[in-house]
Structure formats: structure tokens, C-alpha cells
């Protein structure tokens, strides 16, 4: 059976008709064409699909699209301010915090939420926060550095 979902994604309002079993990540990718949010697993382990739902990071494969009724969603495509990258995006670029790029949208969305909750995380706090995001390329070294650099920059600003 189809359901109708009204939600705001990256500032734009959408009304989407989808199957009841449709996951939020499927709505974003398949109905709205926002393919920056990725699917890397089927057990909610990898974190490639992390988006912000009403300002909090969330694995969009763990939520039915129907549950997002009325929600305000930000995906990786909505993070930059026009051509101006979000400081976290800039930090990942400047610190080589990505290789293949597949986990990167989820990593960045998760990291933005970390600094919102904890603007000055220690290395261990960063590593602990990232437990739900798997990267197979970087060994996390430069991801941790990216987040540290972003935190430093945002603190100085």
C-alpha cells in the first residue's frame, strides 16, 4: 500500500508517495534523486547513509520514510552554503580525510553533529563517536585529523 509523506529536505518541501516499506534512505535516493546519501550495508552498521533529521544525525536506513512525516532533513547535498563549503567539508578536503568517497557523506554528516554536541572533542571522543561509521580506505587517521582541524577552526572563528 502506498503512503504519502510530507517532509522538508535541504530546505525544499516535498510530498512523496511511496510504499509503506520504503526506507528514508530509499526515499532520498530513489524518489528525490539525492544520491549523495549512500547504502553500504543492510544491517545499519556502516553509517554511509547518515543524514540529519531535525538537526540530529541519524542512519537513514533505520527509519521508514513514513516516519519522516513533517521532518526537516539535511543531506550531504544540503550542507554547503552555495559554493561555500561547510567547514567540515573543507577540513576533510584539506586533511585528505577521504579516498574512495563512499563513506564520506555519512562521515561528514556524523562529524558535524559531533561538533554540535561537543565542540572540543578529544581524539578518543572523536574515535568513539565514529564507531557507527565504517571507512575501509583511510584507517580513520586523516578523518580524525579532519575533525580535529575543523574543531580548531570553528573554535578560532
Amino acid at each position: 500500500m502506498a503512503v504519502t509523506v510530507n517532509l522538508t529536505v535541504n530546505g525544499a518541501q516535498h510530498t512523496v508517495e511511496c510504499e509503506e516499506r520504503t526506507l528514508l534512505v530509499q526515499l532520498l535516493r530513489e524518489h528525490l534523486g539525492l544520491t549523495g546519501t549512500h547504502v553500504g550495508c543492510d544491517t545499519s552498521q556502516c553509517g554511509a547513509c547518515v543524514v540529519h533529521v531535525d538537526g540530529e544525525s541519524l542512519k537513514s536506513c533505520t527509519m521508514l520514510a513514513a516516519q519522516a512525516e513533517g521532518a526537516n532533513i539535511t543531506t550531504i547535498e544540503g550542507l554547503a552554503n552555495g559554493d561555500e563549503l561547510h567547514p567540515m567539508q573543507q577540513a576533510f578536503h584539506e586533511n585528505h580525510g577521504l579516498q574512495c568517497g563512499f563513506c564520506t557523506p555519512g562521515m561528514i554528516m556524523s562529524s558535524v553533529d559531533l561538533l554540535k554536541n561537543n565542540p572540543t572533542p578529544s581524539e578518543q571522543e572523536i574515535r568513539h563517536w565514529l564507531e557507527g561509521n565504517i571507512c575501509r580506505c583511510t584507517g580513520y587517521h586523516n578523518i580524525v585529523k579532519s575533525i580535529q582541524a575543523c574543531a580548531d577552526k570553528m573554535k578560532a572563528a
Binding site: E19, R21, R29, L34, T35, G36, T37, H38, V39, G40, C41, D42, T43, Q45, C46, A48, T75, I76, E77, L79, A80, L85, Q89, F92, H93, E94, H96, L98, Q99, C100, G101, F102, C103, T104, P105, I108, E123, Q124, I126, R127, H128, L130, E131, N133, I134, C135, R136, C137, T138, G139, Y140, H141, N142, I143, V144
Partner: protein, 797 residues
């Protein structure tokens, strides 16, 4: 120059990935596409009776259901093997057919039996559940060590003893003799466990057939698009290459698992051609776990003979390597020429002999996974060397130093077929010892003890062969393809440069590194250089990206093409500047007449080549046309390396173990690598970090666990198979020594796999060192808390 060779240039490709604009196969949709879902065997070994597709075919949205019967009727070939091994007895390896949908029998859990093609992915998956296959299970052999046993179930009738091949390398008599005179012999038995690659992007494909033109297009998650076109086109589909295009867009990691011409790609192409449509398939992670080629899976025993001074006299190795149910494309290469040829390590061991038996089991096929054979060799060697150090009481750094190949011995021919290029193994070790503060270790161990922790330090000195290799020699050894790489460097009329390469980045940053090389060679600003890969319609040919070959082979092809550009540019400039070509020198992007201020920029030369008004065009008079030039500035080159290159390093790992729980924490990791000249240090460090994480993964966390009775992959999801997470790893200290490789024009060595190869034994050696007081001399992988805790209890007993 801040963007040329050696500069820490930020990646040109980053922006699309950090803004969500990457273009991976699953992000692509083709108008009117259907969706495929595969029906897979739940049994490791069974006869297929009937395949009842009636229910599935009648299901909502289903267009077609195809089985092995249609594959056979259409005379579609089996999946090809890219490397043939000649056995010790001179016979070829046993190479059973691997049909793209099973014929009569299934041989591993996940073997594809049928495909459902439907209007939506949900409809395809729902209908796949309705395909009713009647299986008659037959006994299966799962474990590597069980395969060669008498009475073991036979995977293939044509492979008695489940043996694909029996192979050896080295001088057995010389090795035996070395042991006769030995002062000490160290013995080791070990298992190099099976791993699942787990690139973060699952495999995906879209096949499109244009019934009017006869053109077949395959979008696929591929490390080697040209090789996939060649192998699938020629051997499976009989689709000629000029009517077959393979596009591999952004690829979300591969680590070997995306090299191969998988059955799913072939099925999609065949079905799309048969039905005249487009069909999409994306693996879910569970499907990836059972169908992506696995890695490693060796069971070995080894002996090292030493003299009284700790010099290595001889090494003997016996290995059983698990191939899985079928031979994957490069499966037979991995436990042979990528493995046993590395047993000299960094040492002068004069006599080495290795025997390898490759066996079939009812499991997912095994092929190259990051390192491919070389991690298995390095793990065995660096474990037995460290064990020998413990047994003889020689410091682990010192025992290695006593056996190093010295810098003045290069090129150095080992007893196992390779000729090493260059290295300063002692200097590399010294740097690692300094980076790790080796002299301070005893104090740190004492400090850990006061907080109730056991601290250990472990060494690993990896060496590997990358950038394979002269095609002619590889052909003699069994390669069924060439191993060169192609490049095209194209000046556009207004001075920008497009570079086409047959290699294909899947995270390695080629768009940046290759642009640095071209910017450096041609004096063109890096922002004016674009690297194009991953489409058989763009780059002429190529063998793709694997085995850490892209820069040393593909980058060298780019250099050769740049050389041709400069040679032609010199002639054009000579004509315009009215000088002899011999008097033209190329400096910082300008062709100038020696000793004068007459010069023109290479961009101006390119413009002249495309707007040839003042240009040595052919006149038609042979007498005048000796120095004539065609318009345009666009050159191709193929580079076939003279030899492998041999990255090497010195890795030191420190661990702390909680004796109550067996939890291992890596507290320090130092890696010094010699990867020859370095184009972009930032990218090299990133490759090393990521490689080390995968090596640590094997040591501590990862392992494909099969149920020996049912053949089910128990660790078949990311909830069951432990991938390293951010809090499992420390910051990694890296350093380099640079001894240029003399066999390629850039002097580079591969950097993509050395981290993985080096890390695993360093971690395990550190754990064993930490548990020395408990009498532990060996530990199995992955060294989970349970494994470590049990070893401590048993060691104590």
C-alpha cells in the same frame, strides 16, 4: 613548483565526494531499466533437480526469469581464468568450467541458479523468493585443511583430492642441505585466515543493449574496465569489443574485489542482449559477503635453518591454499607467483623451497585481496623470523640486520625467481626504530605493568612485488594477458591537457597524482590538466588498477606519452622560431632557442598545432617533407615494465593487553616505507594508513567463518564480520626512505598494499611478545579477546 612531483597537492577529485556529487554505479539510472535479483543456492553442494519458475514468472511486475538452461541453450561461455599454472609434474592446473548460472550442480552457498528480471527491485526480489529449486544436497568439503584428506567429498570429479594444482618453486635439494648443517631450526605452523574484502560500495551493474545498433554497454563497479570487456566479450558473451563498452564511474573502494569479470555482470549483459533492454543490479551487503571474491585462506608449515650467528641458511614452506569452489580470474596466481616468490623477504637466505597445493572447497571463490599472496608470504616469514629471534635470544631488530641484503648488492637475484630493484633495508629499519623509540620500550613496558597491562613490541619488515611485470616473462609463467598500461596525453587547442589512462582510480587519487606528473613534465598548470579514466570508449586500452601498479606502470605510460608530446613540440617550436630542433630546449613549459631569448610556451605550440598556419605541414613533395608534421598534439604510449618494483618497509607495533579480558589495544604503530620516489606524500601516507588498518583488521578482528557442516558463511554481515572501527586504531606514525626504482622513468614503487602486508605480522608479533611471560609462542588470527585469553590460560598450564 608547488604542484609538481613531490608536492602535497590537495586532491582535485575531492569536491564531488564531499558535496554528495560522486557518481557511483548505483547512482545511475537508465530510462526504462528493469531490475535483476538472483536466486542463489542455500546449500554448499547439491544436485539441482527441477527449477520451477512458474510462480515467479506470474508474479506482479516480473518480465523474465532465466536459468542455467537458457545459458546453455544460448551457448554462453564460462567465466575465464586469467592465469594458468603449470604443475610440478608438467600438467596444466585443473580448471573446471564456471557457468554464469549453475548447470546441474551448485558448489557454494550463494552460487547463482536463476535470475529474475522485473520492473522494480522489490518485484524482482519478491519473485526471486518464488523460484522453486529442488536441490538434492550432497556432502560438502568446507575447511581448507579437510580438502586434501582421503575420503573428503569431491567438489569436482575432474580434480581428484580436490587438487587444482600442485606446484613448487626453489631448489629443494639445496634447502634440504641447508637444514642438515643448521645450528638451529625454527618451526612454525600457521593459518592465514580467509577474509572478505568489504569495499564500502557494494558491487553494482547496469547492462544496456541497443537492439538497433547492436551496442552493448555495461556500467559496472570495476577496477579494470578494459579487462572486463576483453574477458566477458571474448570468452563469455562473444560480443565483439567494438560493440561493447564498459563504463566504470566512481568506484567506492575495491581492494582487489572489483577486478574480476563476475557472473552477475555477464548475466546482466546476456539477459539485456537477449531481451533488448537495460537491466540494473546492486548487491546488498549480504550478497556481497557471499559473492565477492574472498582473500587469503592458507594453511602452512614452515622451517627456518640458522647458523650459530643467527644467519638464515634455508627456508622450507609447505602451503595448502583454498581456491573456493571455482577458480576465480586470478585465483591461481595468488598462492604461487605472488606468494612463494617473496620468501627471501629482505634477507640473503641462500636456499628456499616452497610447495603449494591449491584445493577446491565448497566455499566462495578466493582471489586477490589487498596484497594478494604477499601478505601471506610476509606473515609467514616475519612470524618465523621473530620466532627464531625469540628462540635464539637475538634481538628481533638485530637478527634481521644480520641477514639484510645490502644496498651494494642490487640488483639482487633471490633464490625464488625475483630480482630486487633497490633498497636500504638497514636505513629503513633504523628510521623505524627511531620513530618507535625502541630504546625507550623497556621503560614503557614497566610502566604498563604498573597499571596492570602487558605491553609487547613486534616487528615486521615487509617486501613485495608491485607493478607487474614484463608481459613476456609473465606470459611464460602463465599470464593469459599483457601487463602493460596505456596512456594518451592530448593537448587541446587552447592549451589545456586531457590525459586518458587505462588504469582506474577507486580512491587512490589518480586525478591528482597523474595531473602532478603531467604538470611537471609539460610545464602546464595543474588546474589545466584533467585525467579521464574508467570508460573503454575514452581510453584506448588498459589493464586497470590492482597490485599497486597504477603509478609505476600507468604513470610511466603517461611519462612516455609526454616525452612524445615534447619531441613533437620541439619540432613545431623549431619551425616557428626558425631554429634547428637540436637547438631548442624545454624549460618550465617553454621551448626556447638555446642562448637566446627566443621562446614560446607549450600552450602556444599546441595552438599552432591545431591552427597550423605557420607550421611544417606536408607539401606532398617527398623531397621537402622529411621534417613535415601532421597537425595536432596528441600522443599515445604503452609502457611495459622491465621488472616488478619492490616496495619495502620496517613496521613496529606496540600493544597493551588487559590480562583479565584478553583485549588487545594497539598503543603505537610506526611504519617506515621505501616506495621509491614520491609524487604526492599526502596520498602515499593515506594509502599506508588505510593499508595498515586492513592489516590490523586481519590480525585482530576479521575472519570469514564457515560452518563446517552446513557450509553457511556465519560471518556474513557487518554485524558478524568485524571491520576495524575508528576506536580500534591509533594515530599511525609514518616515515619514508626513498631509493628510486631503476625500472620505470618515475623511479616509483607501489604504495597501495605495503601497509596491509606489513601490519599483520607486526601486530601478532607484538601480542606474542606481550604474552612471553605466559609461555605463549603462537597465536591464531584474528586475535580476539577470547583467543588471547585462552592462549594465556593454555600457556600458563
Amino acid at each position: 613548483m608547488t604542484t609538481g612531483i613531490g608536492a602535497r597537492v590537495l586532491r582535485k577529485e575531492d569536491r564531488r565526494f564531499i558535496t554528495g556529487n560522486g557518481n557511483y554505479v548505483d547512482d545511475i539510472n537508465v530510462n526504462g531499466q528493469y531490475y535483476a535479483a538472483f536466486v542463489r543456492s542455500p546449500h554448499p553442494h547439491a544436485e539441482i533437480g527441477s527449477v520451477d519458475i512458474a510462480g515467479a514468472k506470474a508474479s506482479d511486475g516480473v518480465i523474465e526469469v532465466l536459468t542455467g538452461a537458457e545459458v546453455a541453450a544460448d551457448e554462453i561461455g564460462g567465466l575465464p581464468v586469467g592465469w594458468g599454472i603449470t604443475q610440478t609434474n608438467g600438467e596444466p592446473m585443473v580448471e573446471p568450467a564456471w557457468p554464469i548460472l549453475a548447470q546441474g550442480r551448485v558448489r557454494f552457498v550463494g552460487d547463482a541458479v536463476a535470475v529474475v528480471i522485473a520492473k522494480s527491485i522489490d518485484a524482482a526480489r519478491d519473485a526471486a523468493e518464488m523460484v522453486n529449486v529442488s536441490y538434492t544436497p550432497i556432502p560438502a568439503v568446507i575447511a581448507t585443511e579437510d580438502a586434501p584428506k582421503d575420503g573428503a567429498p569431491q567438489v569436482w570429479d575432474e580434480a581428484p583430492g580436490n587438487t587444482s594444482f600442485d606446484w613448487e618453486i626453489g631448489d629443494k635439494a639445496a634447502a634440504d642441505q641447508a637444514f642438515e648443517g643448521a645450528h638451529h631450526v625454527t618451526k612454525l605452523e600457521l593459518v592465514n585466515q580467509r577474509l572478505v574484502p568489504n569495499a564500502m560500495e557494494p558491487r553494482a551493474a547496469i547492462a544496456e543493449f541497443n537492439s538497433v545498433s547492436g551496442d552493448l554497454t555495461l556500467h559496472a563497479t570495476a577496477q579494470a574496465p578494459h579487462a572486463i570487456r576483453l574477458l566477458l566479450g571474448a570468452f563469455v558473451l562473444q560480443q565483439p569489443e567494438h560493440k561493447f563498452r564498459v563504463i566504470s564511474p566512481d568506484v567506492g573502494g575495491g581492494f582487489g574485489s572489483k577486478i574480476y569479470p563476475y557472473a552477475e555482470y555477464a548475466v546482466l549483459c546476456w539477459a539485456a542482449r537477449r531481451m533488448g533492454c537495460a537491466i540494473k543490479w546492486t548487491a546488498d551487503r549480504s550478497e556481497s559477503f557471499i559473492t565477492d571474491a574472498h582473500g587469503r585462506d592458507h594453511v602452512s608449515e614452515a622451517e627456518l635453518a640458522l647458523d650459530a650467528d643467527g644467519k638464515f641458511l634455508g627456508l622450507r614452506v609447505n602451503t595448502v591454499a583454498n581456491m573456493g569452489a571455482y577458480l576465480s580470474a586470478f585465483g591461481p596466481l595468488v598462492p604461487t607467483f605472488l606468494y612463494a616468490t617473496l620468501f627471501a623477504g629482505q634477507y640473503t637466505t641462500p636456499a628456499i623451497y616452497a610447495h603449494v597445493k591449491a584445493v577446491f572447497t565448497n566455499t566462495t571463490p578466493v582471489d586477490a585481496y589487498r596484497g594478494a599472496g604477499r601478505p601471506e608470504a610476509t606473515f609467514l616469514l616475519e612470524r618465523i623470523v621473530e620466532k627464531a629471534a625469540k628462540e635464539t635470544g637475538i634481538d628481533p631488530a638485530d637478527i634481521r640486520r644480520r641477514n639484510f641484503i645490502q644496498p651494494d648488492q642490487f640488483p639482487y637475484a633471490t633464490p625464488v625467481a625475483l630480482t630486487y630493484d633497490s633498497g636500504e633495508y638497514g636505513a629503513t629499519l633504523d628510521k623505524a626504530l627511531a620513530l618507535a623509540d625502541y630504546t625507550g620500550f623497556a621503560a614503557r613496558r614497566d610502566q604498563s605493568k604498573t597499571s596492570g597491562k602487558l605491553r609487547g613490541i613486534g616487528f615486521s619488515l615487509p617486501i613485495e612485488a608491485t607493478g607487474a611485470a614484463p608481459s613476456a616473462i609473465a606470459g611464460q609463467l602463465g599470464a593469459r594477458a599483457g601487463l602493460y598500461e596505456s596512456a594518451e596525453v592530448r593537448f587541446n587547442p587552447t592549451g589545456s591537457v586531457t590525459v586518458f589512462s587505462g588504469s582506474h582510480s577507486h580512491g587512490q587519487g589518480h586525478a591528482t597524482t597523474f595531473a602532478q606528473v603531467v604538470s611537471d613534465q609539460l610545464g602546464v598548470p595543474i588546474e589545466n590538466v584533467e585525467v579521464v579514466q574508467g570508460d573503454t570508449s575514452n581510453s584506448q586500452f588498459g589493464m586497470g588498477t590492482y597490485g599497486s601498479r597504477s603509478l609505476s606502470v600507468g604513470g610511466s605510460a603517461i611519462v612516455r606519452a609526454c616525452d612524445k608530446i615534447l619531441a613533437k613540440g620541439r619540432k613545431i617550436a623549431a619551425h616557428i622560431l626558425e631554429a634547428s630542433a637540436d637547438d631548442i630546449e624545454f624549460v618550465d613549459g617553454n621551448f626556447q632557442v638555446k642562448g637566446t631569448d627566443k621562446a614560446m610556451n607549450i600552450a602556444e605550440v599546441a595552438f599552432a598545432a591545431y591552427v597550423p598556419h605557420n607550421y611544417p605541414l606536408p607539401t606532398g613533395d617527398p623531397a621537402q617533407d622529411e621534417n613535415a608534421l601532421e597537425p595536432g598534439l596528441n600522443e599515445q604510449a604503452f609502457f611495459d615494465p622491465l621488472n616488478f618494483n619492490f616496495p619495502n618497509g620496517a613496521y613496529i607495533c606496540e600493544v597493551e593487553i588487559d590480562p583479565d579480558t584478553g583485549v588487545v589495544q594497539i598503543v603505537d604503530f610506526s611504519a617506515v616505507d621505501d616506495v621509491g620516489n614520491i609524487i604526492n606524500p599526502m596520498i602515499v601516507e593515506g594509502q599506508v594508513h588505510g593499508g595498515i588498518a586492513q592489516g590490523v583488521g586481519q590480525a585482530l578482528y576479521e575472519g570469514a567463518v564457515y560452518d563446517k557442516e552446513t557450509g553457511q558463511l556465519l560471518s556474513g554481515s557487518m554485524m558478524d564480520y568485524t571491520l576495524p572501527r575508528a576506536d580500534n586504531l591509533p594515530m599511525i606514525k609514518t616515515g619514508t626512505t626513498e631509493t628510486p626504482c631503476p625500472f620505470n622513468p618515475l623511479g616509483v614503487k607501489g604504495c597501495g598494499e605495503i601497509g596491509t602486508i606489513g601490519a599483520t605480522p607486526a601486530v601478532i608479533n607484538a601480542i606474542i611478545d606481550a604474552l612471553g611471560d605466559y609461555g605463549v609462542t603462537d597465536i591464531s588470527m584474528p586475535a580476539t579477546p577470547e583467543v588471547v585469553w585462552r592462549a594465556m590460560q593454555e600457556g600458563r598450564a
